[in-house]
């Protein structure tokens, strides 16, 4: 399943919770305020850096740009809305709202 996270890792534990449940290999998509989890040099960056060894991790470009975020963690794949649609077509979705 595709695990989708849309909340800041600093305001909820949704990212940590989803990563705790997602089995190895399950793709992780960060969108809306979830993209703050994709930024390098933050207190939460270790969560995604660790997840990258077990999961493909994606972040939505439009949400990164909106928030002025350019320093994305190495290995996180930045995708556009078409890429988002492709992921949702390829996987059932587990939304971690």
């Amino acid at each position: 399943m595709l695990y989708t996270i849309n909340k800041s890792p600093f305001s909820t534990n949704n990212l940590e919770s989803a990563l705790g449940i997602a089995p190895a290999g399950a793709p992780i998509l960060l969108y809306e305020d979830g993209v703050y989890g994709a930024v390098e040099g933050t207190r939460s960056a270790a969560l995604i850096q660790a997840a990258l060894s077990d999961h493909p991790v994606f972040a939505l470009e439009a949400d990164l740009e909106a928030r002025g975020l350019s320093k994305v963690i190495d290995g996180v794949q930045v995708i556009d809305y078409d890429g988002f649609v492709e992921l949702v077509e390829q996987h059932d979705v587990a939304p971690w709202l």
């Binding site: 800041s8 600093f10 470009e61 740009e65 909106a66 928030r67 002025g68």
Partner: protein, 119 residues
């Protein structure tokens, strides 16, 4: 009771309506020429980050408004040191030259204000 007002911004922009409503409230208070302090705390520091481009979300850049507030008499901006550090940011990453303050200093600013408006 002091006439001072502290607006405490604690939410990230775009993911909720709080940042936009907080900004509108600051403008509204400023019109009455009250003594206003704007505090960026927790994810609220993201509201003031430079380089926001929400065009693809069909929204307006929420950071652009803060530098204009000086024209309305809003001159006191504060940002929480630990909130910046946790996010890998410095005050140079912000759209306004806020004063970097500690938790204790934020408590003091709020304590000296007659009203605290949370967003």
């Amino acid at each position: 009771m002091s006439d001072k007002v502290a607006v405490v911004m604690r939410k990230a922009p775009y993911g909720s309506v709080y940042t936009a409503e907080g900004f509108r409230t600051i403008m509204g208070v400023a019109v009455f020429e009250m003594d206003i302090s704007v505090v960026f705390l927790d994810d609220g520091v993201y509201a003031a980050v430079k380089g926001q481009h929400p065009e693809k979300l069909d929204m307006k850049p929420l950071g652009d408004g803060f530098p204009m507030l000086g024209d309305f008499g809003v001159k006191k901006f504060y940002v929480h040191d630990e909130s910046l550090a946790a996010r890998g940011l410095t005050v140079d990453d912000l759209v306004v030259p806020a004063e970097v303050v500690s938790s204790a200093e934020i408590a003091k600013i709020m304590g000296e204000s007659g009203k605290v408006l949370p967003f």
